[in-house]
């Protein structure tokens, strides 16, 4: 297939899902992110205010919108976020003087590590990036960033997914654990 031929695309978009499916996706997203937000704003409960980070919005799309996807499975959710966070913190510590370089290495390194560990989870790219660009409060956490907010937040979203995705008869979650 030639280069221009490839640009035309080769197949069709998957069909739109039914309204029931959309409802449960909405409910999962609302509960998952809502719960994270509540816990994050309650400073007494978890001492940190960073439970909610942007990359969880992307995780919510996968977990509640495409729960069958290999990218949305618990292994990928937890592994993808935690490994990416590790790469991100390392890159900030080593290359923090040059934010553009640290960012590039954080995201690309996260992709590599997620591939190697079979934990590909696209929001991990954002988690790695946030470790570099998240500002003073994130930088101050050091490697704790990997556990809280990242590991803890992802675990809470996982719990919500395990409950919500298994209520309707036509849905199930997860497809696999490890």
């Amino acid at each position: 297939m030639g280069f221009l031929e490839k640009l035309k695309g080769a197949t069709k978009s998957p069909p739109r899902v039914g309204y029931k499916e959309i409802f449960w996706s909405w409910l999962g997203g609302a509960l998952g992110i809502g719960l994270l937000g509540l816990l994050a704003s309650d400073a007494l409960a978890l001492q940190q205010r960073f439970l909610l980070i942007g990359s969880f919005g992307a995780s919510a799309v996968l977990l509640y919108g495409a729960p069958k996807s290999p990218l949305a499975q618990p292994r990928n959710l937890l592994g993808g976020h935690i490994f990416s966070a590790l790469v991100g913190v390392c890159c900030y510590k080593l290359l923090g003087e040059e934010p553009w370089l640290a960012s590039a290495m954080a995201v690309s390194g996260a992709i590599v590590l997620m591939h190697l560990t079979r934990t590909l989870h696209p929001p991990g790219g954002a988690t790695a990036l946030i470790a570099v660009l998240g500002g003073e409060s994130i930088h101050a956490l050091g490697f704790w960033y990997c556990l809280n907010p990242v590991g803890l937040g992802a675990s809470i979203m996982l719990l919500v997914a395990l409950v919500v995705n298994n209520i309707p008869s036509h849905r199930r979650y997860p497809e696999f654990w490890i």
Partner: protein, 209 residues
């Protein structure tokens, strides 16, 4: 179907086209029937299906042995049987080839339509109708030289044979490479126990069965 069904190749993947060809619309329809967002495109599915089917085919072609698909009641002839008797036996059973066996049921050779054809001078003639034409126009039938011959004179030998344990994948390969249509099947003591033909291979799943 693009590939011919009996296009037996070296690689098991080429032993036949895989299953039913599914169009993109069929896959899309299936995806609509399954609730939940499927994180694949129709062409992803087609790609996976093609490969999976090839693996299934390979597995079956290795798992199925000659003994599973062979015909057990084999008509066999003795080396001393006159050619005319052989021809009559083949005609009455409606078969196109017979093994020639000795008293111990060891296979000495195989007689097929091709062997008759060859001895009738068809090697110089382009096809069966040319043989008929010559038969009708010239004096005497081209089959007459066969009259004095016995099974041992017309058989192809040594016979190409397989064992009961030979997998279908190897049978298909031999049939293709040797351009033959049937293979006598022998037991451990080299005695004839069955015969396996091209048609038996084609009866396997994915190959038209």
């Amino acid at each position: 179907m693009e590939e011919s069904r009996d296009d037996f190749g070296e690689i098991p993947g080429e032993f036949g086209s895989c299953g039913i060809f599914m169009r993109e619309e069929d896959v899309l329809e299936a995806m609509r029937e399954i609730p939940g967002y499927l994180d694949i495109t129709p062409s992803d599915f087609q790609e996976v299906y093609k490969h999976a089917c090839r693996h299934a085919l390979k597995r079956i072609m290795f798992a199925v042995k000659a003994r599973d698909i062979m015909t057990r009641e084999v008509l066999a002839v003795t080396p001393e049987m006159p050619a005319a008797h052989v021809a009559r036996a083949m005609a009455s059973r409606g078969i196109s080839g017979v093994p020639v066996v000795d008293e111990k049921r060891e296979v000495l050779g195989v007689i097929s339509e091709k062997d008759f054809f060859r001895l009738m001078g068809a090697w110089e003639l382009p096809n069966f109708m040319a043989v008929v034409a010559r038969c009708l126009t010239e004096r005497g039938c081209v089959a007459f030289p066969l009259k004095e011959k016995k099974a041992r004179d017309i058989m192809s030998s040594p016979a190409i044979t397989v064992q009961e344990e030979t997998p279908a994948v190897d049978i298909a390969r031999i049939l293709k490479q040797k351009k033959i249509n049937r293979l006598p099947v022998l037991d451990k003591n080299m005695h004839l126990v069955g015969i396996v033909s091209r048609a038996d291979i084609l009866k396997l799943p994915f190959l038209g069965g």
